[in-house]
């Protein structure tokens, strides 16, 4: 599968789907972990292409979605300070806290800047020694090496005015947490391709063995996802439960060693609260003691803010694969990307945002036969 046309060719997609149909003997529930994979699935109607009985449920792989509201409120409080230049990636600007978002703070005079790379914060800190430069470090393991480099360089250069507000979470504990829940329906996983490019996939092997679930590390294109699904169904049908790698052109079992080395010299594992899910032990990162001068959570004393989550929001159940966006009474009505009520609508990677972007709120229920045309070419 070397060329774009083949990856977007509906006839090849159909061949993979036919093979799934040929070997399938019973229904299966498979979870894709990453928000980027959810997006690809919804855009290309992959869930509609798959045979009846293969259900894809959406996982918690959206770091903005799972960042606790208290952390967002803390970020906003820091961003409002006149001695702070607050930096983040663009997708954070519209994420609402209990009151407003970074965009409104900027419009009220806060110095809020979008950056392309965490290293940009070093440039800003060097150029503005009289200001405190704070970077909102949200992400899974994929982004940790970039954030680690920022902090490591800041310490090396003695840039005392540069700090990060950490909200890093890890995928394996979230998968284990989902599998441990008595409500769990997930029987196999499409694992996170870019997280594993950094971390490798060794740590998924004990999870696969303990819970007896196949985990196939998968990429993001439509044919990656279909191929990953086929590999998962093959395992399920033959009673195997192993970790396999569909995304082998990008990653291997050991991952990126230089990246891991710097991540663990700067960060250590910590308990983290996941929005909509609750606290998961040893599921995130915090800065090591040696880097406390660059830890915004320690540097800024922010009073406890009264966080208010809308009662109607079912994000937590969506992130665990128990419900889908159209199970929510507010979906597409009170809640849309311009007025998001909760985690999974606020981020472009969230399941609700993905469903809305591709018009799922306009369809009645889950009628697979009347699906909108897939964007894959050929006889999809």
């Amino acid at each position: 599968m070397k060329y774009l046309d083949e990856y977007r060719d509906g006839r090849l997609a159909s061949k993979i789907v036919d093979e799934i149909r040929r070997i399938q003997t019973r229904p299966w529930v498979i979870m894709e972990v990453c928000g980027g994979q959810t997006h690809s699935i919804v855009k290309h109607g992959i869930d509609y292409l798959l045979p009846e009985g293969i259900e894809l449920v959406h996982g918690p792989g959206c770091p903005v979605c799972v960042t606790p509201l208290e952390m967002i409120d803390k970020a906003h409080a820091i961003a409002k300070r006149t001695d702070v230049i607050f930096c983040s990636f663009g997708d954070m600007l519209r994420v609402p806290g209990s009151e407003g978002d970074l965009f409104t703070i900027r419009s009220q005079g806060g110095d809020v800047r979008i950056v392309y790379s965490p290293l940009d914060c070093l440039k800003i800190a060097r150029a503005n020694p009289e200001k405190k430069v704070v970077f909102f470090a949200i992400g899974f393991e994929t982004t940790a090496p970039a954030n680690a480099m920022l902090v490591w360089r800041a310490k090396q250069e003695g840039l005392k005015n540069a700090s990060i507000l950490v909200s890093h979470v890890m995928v394996p504990p979230s998968i284990a947490s989902i599998l441990q829940s008595p409500l769990n329906r997930v029987q196999g996983f499409l694992g996170p391709g870019h997280v594993c490019a950094i971390m490798g996939y060794r740590e998924y092997e004990p999870i696969s063995a303990r819970f007896k679930v196949p985990i196939v590390i998968t990429g993001f294109e439509p044919l990656d996802i279909l191929q990953g699904t086929l590999m998962t169904v093959r395992q399920l049908e033959s009673g195997r439960a192993e970790v396999e790698n569909e995304y082998s052109r990008i990653l291997n079992r050991d991952g990126n060693k230089p990246a891991q080395k710097l991540v663990f010299s700067v960060f250590e594992i910590a308990d983290r609260k996941w929005r909509g899910v609750g606290s998961i032990p040893k599921s995130g990162y915090k800065l090591r003691w040696e880097y406390r001068e660059h830890d915004a959570e320690k540097l800024f004393d922010v009073k406890e803010i009264d966080t208010r989550e809308p009662d109607i929001c079912i994000s937590g159940q969506i992130l665990k694969g128990i419900k889908k966006p159209h199970d929510c009474p507010a979906f597409g009505k009170q809640c849309d990307p311009q007025h998001p009520l909760g985690a999974t609508m606020v981020s472009a990677e969230g399941a609700c945002a993905a469903y809305y972007a591709y018009g799922r709120h306009l369809q009645k229920g889950q009628d697979r036969n009347s699906a909108a045309a897939s964007s894959l070419g050929g006889a999809a």
């Binding site: 083949e6 903005v64 809020v112 392309y116 503005n128 970039a146 870019h194 490019a197 052109r249 230089p258």
Partner: protein, 93 residues
């Protein structure tokens, strides 16, 4: 935010002690840090996430992935403002 985009390394240089590259993504060129893929040469393709190369890819893979992403309108991430030491001082961009 696990969006990573493949691009071609067209230049490499050092910046403040870090090995960096100019990476071509179709019609757009951005910087990326090469510290995590030390064996990269000019002409190689790398997978870039938030301004860092996290893995190397082969050319066929890159062209295909780039064209798919372009059609998905995901390249808006590459149009975030370029921050340099010159424009980083003072007020907002």
């Amino acid at each position: 935010m696990c969006l990573a985009i493949p691009g071609k390394v067209v230049e490499s240089f050092e910046q403040r002690g870090l090995r960096m590259a100019k990476v071509q993504f179709g019609g757009i060129a951005r910087e990326a840090c090469l510290e995590y893929v030390p064996e990269t040469q000019i002409g190689d393709y790398v997978l870039v996430h938030v301004g860092f190369a996290i893995s190397r890819v082969d050319e066929d893979e890159a062209r295909r992935t780039y064209e798919l992403l372009e059609s998905m309108d995901q390249l808006t991430e590459l149009s975030a403002p370029v921050v340099s030491e010159a424009n980083a001082a003072g007020g907002k961009p």
